[in-house]
Subunit: 349 residues, 3 copies
């Protein structure tokens, strides 16, 4: 969010995030050194406590507290990630943290395997990545040859949208798919027989956190009814805007089957890195050419964009709420002009 932040851990392992520049001569504090739980600037030795207070100025031993404090950012460590509160440091709203126990990432999650994938520094705005994740029809094109057979067909099934308690869901159901060698769901459960109902969906938790199933599956009974849960696989996306045009893109895989199968983890992580690399290439080209020469406000949208459009509207609404709180003009979000009305009534709700 265009703020320089330095992160470190205290000796007991507590994560700390402070404004990243020394108030003295603006040296970036990540070039400094840790002294116990404190952080010493690498230029002239100004030293700061984990609270952001200046506690030592080597050349002015008396009253270091007269030096301006560093802003301290409230943090919460949860699963493989640290969550940062970028608003008023005095009033972090922890209720905004998503409940992600049920995808294996909360501190109370059990029975899950969690694998952290390669971190991507994306040279594209965060909105392009969010758009990407909520229109999975792109799987059939960008990733045409990258997923197991059958995935593409699922990606072109007409999606549903559903507002749930914690998330806004865009998903696709494919029911009664037989376990045949090589198919996506067969790769997950090689010994399974019969048929499965598959749910391929993307859940919007908040503007920086999205989960995509990879997929979830249930036994498909002979009478067509849905049986017991067989497996859940998740491609989780943490999206941290760095500037208007760059994004830190973190990824994690979670699953509730084959927990100790390291080879399977490795295979999934390689697949994830490859696929995210394909998306990255496209998004960076859109950022550097499409968004330069094109006009995002005149985009054409179709019914498969309904989910992404709804997400854009939600983000726009958040901007407006934020602006009201700060009594200023809202940031302008990129909202497409919908040109294809057929099948898109939901877009204008």
């Amino acid at each position: 969010l265009n703020e320089p932040i330095v992160f470190y851990r205290t000796e007991s392992g507590e994560p700390v995030a402070l404004w990243g520049l020394c108030p003295h001569r603006l040296a970036p504090l990540d070039l400094g050194q840790l002294k116990g739980d404190s952080l010493r600037c690498g230029y002239h030795g100004f030293t700061f406590s984990p609270e952001g207070a200046c506690i030592d100025i080597p050349v002015a031993k008396t009253r270091p507290e007269l030096c301006r404090r560093l802003k301290k950012y409230p943090l919460v460590e949860m699963g493989p990630w640290i969550w940062i509160w970028m608003g008023d440091s005095e009033a972090p709203d922890y209720s905004k943290l998503p409940n992600i126990d049920d995808i294996g990432l909360g501190n109370n999650a059990t029975g899950w395997r969690v694998d952290v994938t390669e971190r991507i520094f994306l040279k594209a705005r965060a909105q392009l990545l969010i758009d990407n994740l909520f229109d999975l029809s792109h799987i059939a094109f960008i990733h045409a040859n990258s997923f197991p057979p059958g995935t593409n067909d699922i990606a072109l099934v007409k999606p549903f949208m559903k507002k749930m308690e914690n998330v806004f869901r865009v998903g696709r159901w494919v029911r009664g798919v037989p376990f045949v060698p090589g198919a996506m769901h067969s790769l997950m459960l090689p010994d399974a027989t019969g048929k499965a109902d598959l749910l391929l969906h993307t859940d919007f938790y908040n503007v920086g956190f999205v989960n995509g199933s990879g997929p979830w599956m249930w036994r498909s009974n002979d009478d067509g009814s849905q049986g017991e849960e067989l497996a859940k696989l998740n491609f989780v996306h943490c999206i941290t805007p760095e500037t208007e045009h760059t994004t830190h893109y973190f990824g994690v895989l979670t699953r509730n089957i084959r927990l100790n199968d390291d080879a399977f983890s490795k295979e999934l992580m390689q697949q994830s890195d490859f696929i995210r690399g394909e998306d990255r290439a496209m998004l960076e080209e859109i950022e550097s050419r499409g968004a330069v020469y094109g006009d995002p406000t005149k985009e054409v949208s179709v019914f498969s964009d309904a989910g992404a459009m709804r997400i854009r509207q939600m983000i726009q609404a958040m901007f407006k709420t934020e602006a009201r709180g700060e009594k200023k003009e809202p940031r302008e979000a990129t909202i497409s002009v919908v040109e294809i009305s057929e099948d898109t009534s939901s877009l204008n709700r």
Copy 2:
């Protein structure tokens, strides 16, 4: 011209040029795939006909025609190049195409050898290249050691200017030059004896097309009169502005002698690439330093610049005509202030 364009060929070989961004999510279409004669976007599969019409949206099978059309650019393929009409697509003015049969490049040209040289992506504005080509006195300096002996002397001969039917010509005549080993014209015709009249000239066809002779030659009779044509060699320059500061620079060599001599072609092409590389280095330094720290409106010009100045005035006049048509302020062309009046009366005509 600051427009993103995608080029491809249909299965029957017809060249196609369309606006280069998908109207859906601005993905550059050159990242797409050809499907028969159509072009499919690599992101979500929107597919366009060679006419620019959207003919398939995989996730919205009905009424793809509701999607905005891509602008289609009229093209003409002629010799080794494709010519594009950047104006109103509905009203291309084919009469503006140059007649280049007589330099071996029209579709009716016969008796010519055509060799395409290395394509250069020039990090300099097109005007700098045009200036370069119309003041060949630079040959004696930038290319001091790159041309065969005698070329430099010719380059410093006082040039003439001539408005002809199709072109505006800046040229130099050198008459009665003996065929001696190593001289430029002797290299072209190693077995020739006697003397030749040489014409070294640059022809301005239009703002994107310039031909430089390399040289043309006629037998020089003993009585000083000009005899039959011996040879024509051309260094042809196609100049396509990409942005205000970058240019696609295409080159072709044509000649009407030694048509099947591949070794001679190779030698000429190597020479051409080397020389154009020397120009490129200078022009990019002028773009990045001269045009940044200097003031192009205060350039000093001398009589050898008369040709280049006339060309600048012609381009400026075209800008004005275009602006009148579009009822807007003309673009500002760089017109030198002429400070040396001697021998330069033609500059102010």
Copy 3:
């Protein structure tokens, strides 16, 4: 100072500095060739005398003097450097040249060894380098492990400031330091015994010239009085702003001991290059991040900054004087807000 300048030497060795672009087509003249004492443009051969007069235009033999002259910059060569006058070329004020005989760099200096160190192209504004040199407390942090033992302690001694005839001095005295193996002053005089009084100081000669002692030392008598001079070592810094964000940083070492000890020179130069590299890394990070995200006008300053602050004020005063002369608004210098009043009464003088 944002002006393109070409430097060369005449055949007799006189240095010449001229405006660096050809008035004809803006070609950078450093791409040209020397012809005797004159400089010929590499593009079309316009040739200029050391006075900046155009003396030959190969394609317009008559009256080259009609071409605009190049601005000629007055130069003075002194020791290892050439000093350039960037103001009115007609009225250079040589009285502004510093007297640097006594640090071995004037043309009358004798008894000194002078070693030129690596030239640095610093991607940071000059002010950051000046700040650096006048707050040597940074030695204890950036260079914590780069100087001989004991140096850090000296760097944290409270500094004094002194306005002298030629320079403004910020320095630190440490008296009665025994010659023990490995200490900074012992390395300079390996055979010395007893004790020394050390002076570590930085002298501001003018905005582009700073000398830092490394150190100077005198015998420390048993009664505590200061004895004869033992040695002077200088790290001299020549600081030439290229643009608002880049600086040419030249360095020289001078000493009045062990004049013929080449191995000692080599050792000192390696140390100097290493230390200046450490500073460079920090200053470039401050330029690219600190000065982008931070607010230089809200810097916190402490008593060890008093010297640097005084220097900033002197530079600001020079800007104002210059602006009065040119009857325009003064450039805005970066002046810190002093937030720590204790021990900093001198900051507000």
